[in-house]
């Protein structure tokens, strides 16, 4: 599947797949799903181009919403914010953007690039900069591998546009952009990571939208056909393995500096009867210990799904009594290099643990 179109059916699957790949975080896709569906029903097309098919000389950027999700569910987008941010970036660099390169496949942020691509009538690339969800902007392969976060453009629904032409680094950009976002009403469209097609092929994780779609397809199939085991379907689509099956017996959760942190405890059943698993999280699931031994750590994906129907369990829905399966999915090799692990490895989240690929931990 090199070039394809997102239709309503694919959209439903991507929403589910992106929630699984969101590893407990990534935000709620409900509003984004309705917006994308409205565009599709109005006759817009969402064309997807494979990463390897992107010409080297194309101009690309990422586009998405920035700000507080709690504001975005009350002040629903006007609809043109992110598109306007891309136009502001285009005006600044004096180049048309040829395709939208998604930032994050996990959770709600997977939908916004489709909306922008549909509005601008340009394709989106089947790739992203995480292959999952992460809590902050610097945790993205584009910046890790040297793409400049500048120029960056913001736009609100009122007609304000801001371009940051030049700056120190991605940390500075995040500070500056977030304070502008507050003045602009708390949630804005953002276009950033302006790069060439050649840069994208070097720094992006390819095939992630197709992967989310295939994953969602399998979950939906398993729900429709009783005989199909939903976990087998998810594992087949992601190349992961089941780390644990059990019941949540304790949830500890606290909210600090805008992040939800905590840990959960599971008692095993079936093949895992008698064993315990502990998982710690910060917006996303980060480290899993089985009877005290580390079995998976960030940046590998630790996904939690309802054992019965494959429904992904997000951090805000965790509670005692859920029967779940914990799935480990190897992350992209682009997240496993020394320079990437410095930004997205266990120490970056405060764990003094070495990263060991989940395939070698047994």
């Amino acid at each position: 599947m090199s070039n394809w179109q997102v239709d309503e059916d694919a959209l439903e699957s991507i929403v589910i797949g992106a929630a699984v790949l969101g590893t407990g975080g990534g935000g709620n896709p409900y509003v984004g799903r309705l917006r994308a569906r409205k565009l599709l029903r109005a006759g817009h097309a969402i064309e997807v181009v494979a990463l390897e098919d992107v010409p080297d000389d194309w101009s690309l950027c990422t586009a998405g919403g920035m700000g507080a999700p709690t504001i975005a569910v009350e002040k629903i987008a006007g609809g043109s914010e992110t598109t306007d941010a891309v136009r502001a970036l285009e005006d600044h660099v004096g180049q048309r953007i040829d395709a939208i390169l998604p930032a994050e496949i996990g959770g709600g942020n997977s939908i916004e690039p489709m909306i922008v691509a549909a509005n601008l009538g340009i394709p989106m690339v089947d790739a992203d900069g995480m292959g999952r969800a992460f809590p902050t902007m610097p945790m993205i392969t584009y910046f890790i591998y040297g793409i400049s976060p500048f120029p960056c453009a913001l736009a609100d629904e009122k007609g304000n546009r801001i371009v940051y032409p030049q700056g120190v680094d991605d940390y500075w950009l995040e500070r500056l952009a977030r304070s502008s976002a507050v003045q602009m009403g708390g949630f804005v469209g953002c276009a950033v990571a302006y790069m060439s097609g050649a840069d994208a092929k070097r720094t992006a994780i390819g095939g992630t939208l197709s992967r989310a779609r295939a994953l969602g397809d399998r979950v939906r199939l398993a729900r429709a056909v009783r005989d199909e085991d939903v976990l087998d379907g998810i594992l087949a689509a992601t190349g992961g393995r089941t780390l644990f099956e059990g019941k949540i017996v304790d949830v500890e959760r606290r909210s600090t500096d805008g992040f939800t942190r905590g840990q959960i405890l599971l008692d095993g059943f079936d093949g895992d009867a008698g064993a315990q698993m502990r998982i710690s999280f910060q917006n996303e699931y980060l480290v899993a210990w089985r009877d005290g031994e580390v079995v998976a750590t960030v940046p590998d994906l630790i996904c939690m799904v309802n054992r019965e129907d494959g429904e992904p369990i997000t951090v805000d829905r965790l509670r005692y009594g859920y029967r779940v399966a914990i799935l480990g999915v190897p992350c992209s090799e682009l997240l496993r290099t020394p320079e990437a692990l410095e930004v997205v490895g266990p120490p970056a989240f405060g764990y003094e643990l070495p990263f060991e690929p989940m395939e070698v931990v047994r």
Binding site: V31, A68, P69, E74, S179, G185, V251, G321
Partner: protein, 519 residues
């Protein structure tokens, strides 16, 4: 003295209470028009207790009537949504995610206009009275009779929506107006949906509440009438006419509140076993724990405060099949007194197994003597397994908790349950829902986002005071008001630190406390 009534799909239950004492109780069939069943119940209570109706201080009714009207798509008004928030809030249309048949049933008309606020209270865009007046005239000429008004961040300030209400009152006084800030909390689409549902139910609410009022008058009762809300508190009949949607799901809440009251246990699990299904929920400080999951009614997402419930298909009338007996999910329902074996019928039900297994004595126990005792035992084991599974799923921690069992089908439940520290069967368990209505209180709620500069303590204190004031405005005795819920959470991803705070206060109803009947 006061009367509490719970109108369910099958039964109308009613109690007459004097302070904490149940003086009389009755279970009667729900009637299609709702009102005549209520009248029958009240007449029966008055007759059996022999009290003077002048002693009645309040009548409280919990009803599923409005929920059912929505689910059955009947008697809904031609309704329009007016959303204020342009140039924001234009990317998803009102009614977008409604089932097509429901959208058609209410007409599904909508307009977007300028107005609304930012998260920090700044004006998002200026309200244009001429724009609103033009829209109202258009909608009226399209046949709209009821209007739902939703402004962005109206839960911070209802100013914009109130201004619109004044314009409608001038342009089209015959149109009923529902303002979203009086219905729900932050979350535009869900609040707008709830507001639109309310608007669609307004004419039915006027008729129904009017007919309740008239019936009370004909019975010679001049005590004030209240309806129960889904959070276990009351609203006056006048309010209920304007906010029928707030009665949604009050049934399970009443039953859990009644269970807490009758057992004296404010923190426990409540298992309500009916004729077809059972509900299990958790009490926290005497109120149902609320669900974190979005509540849907008639397949429409709303932001209602719903009790966190797990329902499973076990009830007194559940039909039993097979040698390794499967129970339900179908049930003989209200026909149990004709169709179950112990009542002379020919259908093997869960109740028959309970009788044959020696757990209960209902109907003519001899009629169950033909049931194989081994089958009965396996059936009781299956019921226990279903119950224990649901019980484990509703709990938030591993420790055993007391379980209060109420409802007509509670004879199915044994005294030993894994995960239960004990099984409590309070007196009057079969009318716990009506008791819950009779003891309901009044509330006031605040939900706002503020800059954290002022300090968390002061922000919370201000919200507490505002919630208490709101409860008193709703009819609570000032001295009796207590804060039952405080939630605060930093708003994430914001450069400026913001705090979202939600406070709920409840207190005793003035009329009841004045009569000295509630401690």
């Amino acid at each position: 003295m006061r009367i509490g009534i719970d109108v369910g799909g099958t039964n109308t239950d009613a109690v007459l209470m004097d302070g904490a004492t149940v003086v009389a109780k009755i279970k009667t069939s729900t009637t299609a028009d709702v009102t005549s069943g209520v009248v029958t119940a009240i007449e029966s209570l008055l007759r059996s207790s022999g009290i003077d109706r002048a002693e009645l201080r309040a009548v409280m009714i919990g009803t599923t009537h409005f929920t059912n009207a929505l689910i059955e798509r009947r008697r809904l008004a031609p309704t329009a949504v007016l959303r204020l928030g342009l140039p924001a809030a234009a990317s998803i249309d009102p009614f977008d995610d409604w089932p097509a048949d429901l959208r058609d049933a209410v007409g599904g008309r909508w307009r977007l206009a300028h107005g609304g606020h930012e998260f920090d209270g700044r004006e998002l865009s200026a309200l244009d009275p001429a724009e609103i007046a033009r829209i109202v005239r258009e909608l009226v000429s399209d046949g709209v009779e009821s209007l739902a008004v939703t402004a962005v961040f109206s839960s911070l300030t209802g100013e914009t929506e109130q201004h619109v209400a004044r314009i409608v009152a001038e342009e089209a006084p015959q149109v009923a107006v529902t303002l979203s800030h009086e219905i729900g909390r932050v979350g535009l689409l869900e609040r707008e949906n709830a507001t639109a549902i309310n608007a669609a139910l307004r004419p039915l609410a006027t008729t129904t509440v009017g007919s309740f009022r008239r019936s009370l008058g004909e019975l010679g009762i001049d005590a004030p009438l209240y309806l129960t809300q889904n959070d276990g508190t009351l609203m006056s009949a006048d309010m209920a006419e304007r906010y029928p949607v707030l009665t949604f799901a009050s049934g399970p809440t009443n039953s859990m509140r009644g269970a807490a009251f009758l057992s004296g246990l404010p923190d426990a699990l409540v298992l309500d076993v009916g004729g077809t299904t059972s509900d299990i929920g958790a009490l926290v400080h005497g109120f149902p724990r609320e669900s974190a999951v979005v509540a849907t009614f008639g397949d429409v997402r709303t932001n209602f405060r719903m009790p966190d419930l797990i329902s499973f298909g076990l009830g007194g009338g559940s039909i039993v099949r097979g040698e390794q007996p499967r129970l339900g999910p179908d049930s003989v329902g209200y026909a149990i007194t004709e169709r179950a074996l112990v009542f002379g019928g020919d259908v093997l039900t869960a109740t028959d197994l309970a009788v044959a297994g020696g757990r209960a004595q209902v109907g003519d126990t001899a009629l169950a003597s033909g049931v194989d005792p081994a089958l009965a035992r396996r059936g009781l084991d299956a019921m226990r397994a279903m119950t224990e599974d649901a019980l484990d799923r509703i709990k938030l921690a591993r420790d055993p908790e007391p379980v209060i069992v109420v409802g007509g089908g509670s004879i199915l439940v044994g005294d030993e349950l894994a995960g239960a520290s004990r099984v409590v069967r309070p007196e009057h368990y079969e009318v716990a829902n009506a008791v819950g209505a009779a003891i309901a209180q009044v509330s006031g709620e605040i939900d706002r986002i503020e800059p954290s500069d002022d300090g968390r303590e002061r922000i919370i204190e201000r919200a507490r005071c505002a919630a208490v004031d709101r409860a008193v405005a709703n009819g609570a005795v000032p001295g009796s008001v207590q804060i039952v819920e405080i939630e605060d959470a930093p708003v994430p991803y914001m450069e400026k630190r913001m705090l979202r705070v939600r406070v709920k206060a409840v207190g005793e109803l003035t009329d009841v406390a004045a009569a000295g009947s509630v401690a």
